[in-house]
């Protein structure tokens, strides 16, 4: 099962719409509630990141019987220092993003802690690519 969503940078009113739709699909598929929460929290954080930092992005979601794969690719400024961006508390978010309740430097580490596999690559001046994998058939804590 495959879904694709477009995300517009700066469009805070719609931030989370794609994650919301994926949540509804996973519920219909009777996926374990704890797994759903991990997937949609990671996806929502990443979706908000695109809205907060990039010009536009595309989210691809692939669901099979074993796992859920989220690929989020954006056109944006990119991340010059990924280890620094992965540190809790490090943020380059604008005041507008902070007013929305985000931009505390928690997003990327929280994505990683909800994912079974997490890859981030970025090119300055071009954009950032995230791959988030969550397994379906692993007992949840």
């Amino acid at each position: 099962m495959h879904f694709e969503y477009k995300v517009q940078g700066g469009d805070f009113a719609r931030a989370g719409l794609a994650s919301s739709q994926v949540k509804k699909v996973l519920k219909q598929l009777n996926v374990d509630a704890k797994v759903i929460k991990r997937v949609v929290v990671a996806m929502y954080e990443a979706e908000v990141n695109i809205v907060a930092h990039a010009y536009q992005g595309t989210i691809n979601v692939d669901i099979d019987t074993e796992r859920i794969v989220l690929n989020l690719k954006d056109h944006g400024p990119g991340i010059p220092d990924i280890p620094l961006a992965m540190q809790r508390g490090y943020s380059t978010a604008s005041p507008v993003v902070r007013e929305m309740g985000f931009g505390a430097g928690m997003g990327l580490p929280n994505i990683q802690s909800n994912a079974d596999e997490f890859k981030i690559t970025s090119e300055v001046g071009k954009g950032t690519n995230l791959e988030i994998v969550v397994y379906l058939n692993v007992p949840q804590e």
Binding site: S19, K23, K37, V48, M100, G101
Partner: protein, 118 residues
């Protein structure tokens, strides 16, 4: 059961106003988390969680949706808008407005036995 509270008890203790989801006030919550920072809310694992926040915007409701939070108390007299109500109704969520500070609201509910997540 001690430690759990129905939403209608919470509304009574806080002398608060239910903005939407009044048909769901028999729902029980066990834990509460108070924050204006949605990034922190998104790290919470607990179920049956009440969110207490002063951040009255649509992202607070979105965050609750992603985190399986079924009720939000907006403190410091913050007002819920129509977009928030629409999203909350779509997700079967209860939105409550409360005139108290976050400290007072959290203190009152802690005193009634609602549990902290950590």
């Amino acid at each position: 059961m001690p430690g759990k509270m129905k939403l209608n008890q919470i509304v009574e203790v806080l002398q608060a106003k239910v903005v939407c989801g009044s048909e769901l006030l028999n729902t029980e919550v066990e834990f509460a988390f108070a924050s204006d920072l949605m990034s922190d809310v998104l790290t919470i694992q607990a179920d049956n969680l009440l969110l207490i926040t002063g951040l009255a915007n649509v992202q607070a409701v979105r965050t609750a949706e992603m985190s399986d939070i079924s009720a939000i108390v907006f403190v410091r007299n913050k007002k819920v808008n129509d977009d928030m109500i629409e999203l909350a109704e779509e997700n079967g969520m209860v939105l409550i407005e409360c005139a108290s500070s976050m400290f007072k609201a959290a203190g009152l509910l802690f005193g009634q036995g609602l549990k902290p997540v950590y």
